[in-house]
Subunit: 423 residues, 2 copies
C-alpha cells in the first residue's frame, strides 16, 4: 500500500453513543500518530463522526497543542462530536461510499480510523472493501467502543468498565442511604441502567453486593423475562429479612412475550398515563402490590459520562486500543480491529489482539447464561471474576475550582475544496 | 449541671434524610467524646434516630474500634439508621417527651446530640425545655445536617456542599455527552435535582457553566414560577446558538399558582408532598412543542449519597460540627447548635459559631433573590462566590476491589431495662 510508504493524512471519527473514555482512544491515536511524522501527516477528525467526512467537515487536530491532546485522556464525551448515522449497504447507497473516497482523496487521507460499536465496525469494513474495489489505498482500522460491552472478538469494550464502576459505586452508596431510611420511610430503591439488549451493565451493579444482605438485592436482566409473581415474592422476602430492598433494572427488561416493561406505563388516580421508564414501572408495581414506599433513580447519561469515576483499567485499554490502531496501520494491516485479550483473571492480565472487521461487523455478544444466577435475580461468581478487573483502579481527572477540569479543543476546520454534499 | 461534673453517657441520633457526610459528624462527635472519658461515659446512638430513644433501642458505640469509628468519616448514609419522625408539640404528645427523659435517666444519659435539619432542631429545643421543667439535667445540642442548605444561623449546612459538587460535576459530564450527540440525536438534556422549597442544589448545577455556551444553559428554580413561553423561547434560542440545551430543574418547580409541575400524590411522614418526575415533564414539554429529542436524568438518592465525590470543605465542616457539639456540651452550653460562620470568600475562611436552638427551630433559610439572574434562568456572580468554596477540594474514600470501601458497624444494642413503648 502507498499509505505505508509516504506520509499521508489520517481520518479519525467517533461514532454512536459516546463514553467516558472514547477520548482516551483519540488521545492514544493522535499521540501515536504524532510520533510517526514520516508515515502520518495530519490527523483529521470528522466533525460529528462520519457525517464530517461526508460533508467534508474535517477538524485539523494539528492545531491542538500536545498538552491539550494529552488532556483528551481524562475528558469524557466525544471531543470532535459523534453521530447516530449508519451508512446503508454498498448496493443501496454506493454514492455515500464513493463520496467518502472522494473526500479522502481530496485531503490525501491514507488511514481511516473508525471508533465505535457494531454498526461502525460494519461501516469500516465496507469502506475497506470499497477502497480495494476502487483502487484507492486506504488502511481501514476499527477501534472498539461501547458501554454495552457487546462487541465480539474483544474480552471487553472501552467505555463499559467505567460505566460498570459508576453503577456499582452508585448502587453501593444509594443502598447505604435507603438502608438508613427504611425503618420509617423508603424501603424500596430502584435504579434503572442502560443496556437494552444485553445485561452487562445490570450485572455490574451486582458487584456492589458482597453478601446476601448488601445492596443490590435483586437484578432484573434483559436476558431473563420478567416474572412478576416471583419478583414480588423476592422483594417482600428481602424487606422482611433486611428491612429494605435495592434493585437494579435494565432499560431493556421485557416480559415473556417480549414486551418492554418501559412501554407499560401505569396510570395515576386521575387516569393520566404515569410518566417514567422501566425503573418507575417496577417501583410503582411494588408500591401498588406490596405497599412499600420507593425511590427510583435514572442516571441516564450520567452513567456513561462519569469520567470522574472512570476505571483505570478502562482508561488504559481505551488508550492502548487507539495507539494499537495506528501501529496496526503502520504495520500494513487493514480491515482489522484491535481488541482486548484476557490472559489471566487474577491477577488480571491482558494484551492487544487483532480481529478481522468482517468477523466483528454486526455481531452482538450476549452475556453468557452462566453469568446469571439460577434464579435469574443476581450474578454468579464466574460473572464476578469476569467483571472485577474491569472496574479496578482509579484514574481521577485533575480538578479546577472543585470540578473536573476537562479540555475543550479548538476544533478548527480544514478548508473545504469539494462541492457540497448533503446527508 | 451534673453532666458537667461526672461522667455520664451521651445519646446521639441521626434524623431525616441522610447525606454523604452525616457520618463524618458522627465520627467527629464520637472521636471527641472518646478523648474525654472523665466527662463522657459511652456514646449511645439511637437505632433509626429518635425512634431508637423512644423504644429504648440504643446502640452501644463503645463496641466499635477506633479504626471503624474513623472510617465513618468517609462512609455515606446514616450508620445508625435515621428516621422521618417528628415529635409533636409538648402539649399534644407530652408522653413521648417524658419517655425520652425516662430512657435517658435509665441509661444515665447526660448529653443529647441531635443531628438533623429544621424539624430536628425543633425537637432538640423541645427536649431541652422539658429537661429543665422536669428537673433532669441534660445538655441538648443540635448538629446541623441537610442537603437542602436551608437552616438559618449557619453559612452552609453539612451535606449540601457534597451534593453541590456532585450535581455540578454530573451536569458538566453529561453536558459534554449531549454536546457530542446533538448533531444527529439528543439535543435536550434535563437533570432533575432535589430541593423542594429552596433552589440551592439547582443553583449549584450552574457552577458547571463558566461561559454562556457551557452546560447547564438554563436552571429552573423553585423560587421562580415556571413561565412556559419564556422558557421554551430560551430553549429554542439555545439549540440554535449552541446546537443543544442542558437544563437543571428543581423537583419543587411550580407555576404561578403554586402548583407543582409534578406531584406524585403521596406524602411523607412529615406531611411534605413527595415529588418526582418534573424532569420528564419539562423534557416532554420541549419535545411536544419544539420537536427536539431529549434525555433526562433523575439522580435521586445518588446525589446525596455520593461520598466518592464529596467536597473536602463539606467533610471538614461536618466533622468539625460533630466535634464542636461535644466541646459545647463540655463547656456547659445547652439548647444550642454549632454552625458555620464564613469569615472570607476568597480565600475562603470559616469558623464555628453558636446559635440558640430556639432561633433555628422551624425557620427555613431561602435563597436570596440576588443569587438568581434577573431573567430567572441562571445564577449570578454573587451566588458563584457563595457556592464556589463549598465544593472545593476532594476527599476520596479508600477503595477495595475497585469500589469505595465503606464501613459497616457492628451496631450492638444496649440491653433494655424498661417496659416496651410503642411509637
Amino acid at each position: 500500500m502507498n499509505a505505508a510508504h509516504r506520509p499521508t493524512n489520517a481520518f479519525y471519527a467517533q461514532s454512536g453513543g459516546v463514553t467516558a473514555v472514547i477520548n482516551a482512544s483519540a488521545c492514544g491515536l493522535i499521540e501515536t500518530a504524532r510520533r510517526h511524522p514520516d508515515r502520518i501527516g495530519k490527523v483529521f477528525a470528522g466533525r460529528n463522526g462520519i457525517i464530517g467526512a461526508l460533508t467534508e467537515d474535517l477538524i485539523d487536530t494539528s492545531h491542538e497543542s500536545d498538552a491539550d491532546i494529552a488532556r483528551l485522556r481524562h475528558t469524557p464525551g466525544g471531543a470532535f462530536g459523534s453521530c447516530r448515522y449508519k451508512l446503508k449497504g454498498l448496493d443501496q447507497h454506493r454514492v455515500q461510499y464513493e463520496r467518502l473516497i472522494e473526500v479522502f482523496r481530496a485531503h490525501d487521507i491514507g488511514y481511516f480510523f473508525y471508533n465505535g460499536g457494531n454498526d461502525s465496525m460494519d461501516t469500516a469494513w465496507k469502506v475497506s472493501q470499497l477502497s480495494e474495489t476502487m483502487g484507492y489505498p486506504l488502511a481501514c482500522i476499527g477501534i472498539p467502543k461501547t458501554v454495552d460491552n457487546d462487541l465480539p472478538h474483544t474480552d471487553s469494550c472501552p467505555g463499559f468498565g467505567s460505566v460498570a464502576k459508576y453503577v456499582a459505586t452508585s448502587m453501593r452508596e444509594a443502598g447505604l442511604d435507603v438502608a438508613s431510611m427504611a425503618a420509617t420511610s423508603t424501603k424500596i430503591f430502584v435504579m434503572e441502567v442502560m443496556g437494552r439488549h444485553a445485561g452487562w451493565i445490570t450485572a455490574a451493579c451486582g458487584l456492589a453486593s458482597e453478601a446476601a444482605d448488601e445492596p443490590p438485592h435483586l437484578l432484573l436482566f434483559p436476558e431473563i423475562p420478567f416474572a412478576e409473581a416471583a419478583f414480588l415474592a423476592r422483594v417482600e422476602d428481602c424487606v422482611k429479612r433486611f428491612g429494605y430492598c435495592a434493585i437494579a433494572v435494565s432499560e431493556g427488561l421485557h416480559d415473556a412475550d417480549g414486551r418492554f416493561l418501559s412501554d407499560m406505563g401505569t396510570r395515576d388516580a386521575f387516569g393520566h398515563a404515569q410518566l417514567g421508564g422501566v425503573g418507575q414501572v417496577v417501583a410503582q408495581l411494588i408500591r401498588d402490590r406490596l405497599g412499600y414506599k420507593y425511590h427510583w433513580a435514572l442516571p441516564d447519561y450520567l452513567q456513561r459520562s462519569a469520567r470522574h469515576l472512570a476505571s483505570k483499567t478502562d482508561v488504559e485499554q481505551a488508550y492502548a486500543l487507539g495507539r494499537a490502531a495506528v501501529e496496526l496501520a503502520l504495520a500494513g494491516r487493514h480491515g482489522v480491529m484491535p481488541g482486548i485479550v484476557r490472559t489471566a483473571d487474577a491477577p488480571y492480565a491482558w494484551e492487544i489482539g487483532v480481529a478481522e472487521l468482517k468477523d466483528v461487523a454486526n455481531v452482538e455478544r450476549k452475556m453468557p447464561r452462566e453469568f446469571i444466577s439460577a434464579d435469574g435475580f443476581h450474578i454468579t461468581d464466574r460473572c464476578r471474576a469476569y467483571l472485577a478487573p474491569l472496574i479496578a483502579g482509579e484514574d481521577v481527572p485533575p480538578s479546577r475550582n472543585g470540578l473536573p477540569d476537562y479540555v475543550r479543543l479548538k476544533n478548527i476546520a480544514v478548508p473545504r475544496c469539494l462541492e457540497v454534499f448533503t446527508v
